[in-house]
């Protein structure tokens, strides 16, 4: 089968690979129908995630059709169309029982801090991902969700990570009616976090980014105010001025390890890797939010350490909330929002690219070329 094949930082190719097989009685083999490139795939692509092995296939956002099931699978059969949450989770461990599916303790032998995830290095369990024609989906009775009959595939694939993560980011921000919420990052997660903040009754939503075309998009799509940090001397002072001198009630970090905006953090975090990525957005969030406010973090950082002003967070009495999304927990609510027309996720898709051109697609996404916001890779069998 054709599959993305990681060769090293900023290098990958699409080549032939053996088809996956059933390795556990509760596995399914899924033929991929859509696979997205996620912003967090760029951390792998740039070599920032430890134990990313040459030959791995990325892709934790995908939908597909069940081809084969293991002997204990009872909820799926060949031919079912499914969306597959990015978490690989057992549904029964201490954490899954509390519905913290992103923190499953029984699907990743390589690390305890991180649950299993598709196509996200050995550190996330050594699973191959969905940027391929076929993928092994473990625990088929737990993770995959059958598509509602009227669900558009492009909407469905965004339910596997981007939309639930954005929604959970807003949820963790503890938004109360009338709150002012600042979202750092106008990528797919930031866009959905901004949209979700309105659903939760925010009075004002401000999105901060450094890329004009993304700010234009989020302004139009989510009806929010925007700030380009390149046009501002000091973003913390600017945000405080915008919010009665006190600061916003909640800040969401939807950027993570590859933030722009500070040469110091770029050099130490991204190029020299002395820190686990550039924590610029997080630093801005902590320093901007009002005292007693809430910080919600869904931006992904590496597992080592980052320079963040934790002393300021303590002195300001902040609440810090963060996690990988528990995708399955959010699905019923988000499907309801899509069906009611409150969110139209597929509008953020700017690029539909044949799987074979994944190397170019990554380059475009990584360098923010051609107005790229979200890219979907289409496997050969579905290219018309």
């Amino acid at each position: 089968m054709l599959a993305l094949n990681y060769r090293g930082p900023s290098r990958l190719r699409v080549s032939q690979k053996p088809e996956p097989s059933i390795e556990h009685p509760n596995d399914a083999i899924v033929r991929v129908t859509r696979a997205c490139i996620c912003g967090s795939d760029l951390h792998l692509y740039h070599g920032l995630v430890p134990d990313t092995r040459v030959g791995m296939t990325f892709g934790h956002e995908f939908t597909g059709i069940v081809e084969e099931v293991g002997r204990t699978v009872s909820s799926l059969k060949p031919g079912d169309s499914v969306l597959v949450p990015f978490n690989v989770f057992c549904g029964t461990c201490f954490f899954c029982q509390r519905e913290l599916y992103g923190n499953c303790h029984d699907t990743n032998p390589y690390a305890t801090a991180l649950g299993g995830a598709f196509g996200y290095s050995a550190t996330a369990g050594n699973y191959d991902g969905g940027q391929a024609e076929y993928v092994r989906v473990p625990l088929a009775d737990v993770g995959p969700t059958k598509l509602p009959p009227d669900m558009d595939l492009d909407d469905a694939v965004l339910l596997t990570d981007a939309l639930p993560t954005g929604y959970q980011a807003a949820e963790m921000a503890g938004i109360k009616e009338g709150d002012t919420v600042v979202v750092f990052g106008a990528g797919p997660i930031g866009i959905f976090a901004a949209k979700s903040a309105w659903l939760m009754g925010a009075g004002r939503v401000i999105v901060v980014d450094g890329v004009d075309y993304r700010l234009e998009f989020v302004r139009r799509y989510a009806k929010v105010e925007t700030v380009n940090f390149h046009e501002i001397d000091d973003i913390t002072v600017h945000l405080k001025k915008l919010c009665d001198g006190l600061g916003p009630d909640a800040c969401i970090d939807a950027v993570g390890a590859e933030a722009d905006g500070s040469w110091f953090h770029r050099i130490t975090g991204v190029f020299l890797k002395i820190q686990a990525g550039a924590p610029t957005a997080l630093q801005w969030a902590i320093n901007s939010v009002r005292k007693g406010g809430t910080i919600s973090i869904v931006g992904v950082y590496g597992p080592t350490l980052n320079m963040v002003p934790i002393g300021n967070a303590m002195n300001k009495g902040l609440t810090l909330r963060m996690n990988q999304a528990s995708v399955k927990r959010h699905l019923p609510k988000l499907i309801e929002h899509i069906q009611a027309g409150r969110i139209d996720p597929k509008q953020i898709i700017t690029h539909r690219v044949p799987l074979e051109e994944a190397a170019e697609a990554y380059h475009i996404f990584s360098n923010k070329l051609d107005g790229c916001i979200k890219t979907i890779l289409i496997p050969p069998s579905l290219q018309h």
Binding site: R7, G8, P9, R11, H24, P50, D51, T52, R53, V54, G55, M56, T72, C90, G91, T92, C96, Q97, R98, E99, D106, T107, N108, P109, Y110, A111, T112, A113, G116, A122, G125, N126, Y127, D128, P138, L139, D141, V142, E171, M172, E177, W198, L199, M200, G201, K223, L305, S326, K328, R329, H330, K333, A340, R342, E360, A361, Y362, H363, I364, L369
Partner: protein
């Protein structure tokens, strides 16, 4: 209070009880579907490295790429340290870089010369940012040429001095 009538669905989830992950931890805890049992143990088909913070291998795991070569030796060494120990991660990051070199060697061994230009998606760079792309390529190849020239010059100089010393 501001009501945003222009925003579709404004406030539909304003009651925390309507938000699916509130409270953070479900109480009382329960399996995702009634009667679901802990998964049976998957059998490893290649080498699996296990964090020493785990009690043992997890019931389910991925088998995408096994550790191999020098990078594999380094990865095994990394797993002697816990996730809380910086050495664990730094050794893994170093192993990743070694793995890249081993990957190129492996490609060559199989008669495949990696096309770096294609693998880095540079066609897209030239299509969307041709001037910057050409400049970047010129700087990269110019730098490589200069480095090669400096190296060969140094070697030539060394042989000249060695000859002088012999006489």
């Amino acid at each position: 209070m501001a009501i945003h009538s222009d925003v579709e669905g404004w406030g539909v989830d304003k009651n925390p009880a309507d938000r699916p992950a509130v409270p953070k931890e479900r109480t009382p805890p329960r399996a995702i579907t009634p009667g679901l049992k802990r998964p049976t143990q998957q059998r490893p088909r290649n080498e699996v490295l296990v964090s020493n913070e785990h009690a043992g291998i997890t019931r389910v795991f991925g088998t995408a790429v096994a550790p191999r070569g020098l990078s594999g030796i380094m990865r095994r060494a990394a797993f002697r340290y816990s996730e809380g120990d910086l050495r664990h991660w730094l050794i893994l990051l170093a192993a990743d870089r070694v793995d890249v070199v081993e990957g190129v060697i492996d490609d060559l061994r199989h008669g495949h010369v990696p096309n770096f230009f294609k693998e880095m998606g540079w066609k897209a760079e030239l299509r969307h940012r041709p001037v910057r792309g050409v400049l970047k390529l010129a700087v990269t190849f110019g730098g490589l040429a200069l480095a090669a020239f400096a190296l060969t010059r140094q070697t030539r100089k060394r042989t000249y001095f060695q000859r002088l010393l012999k006489h």
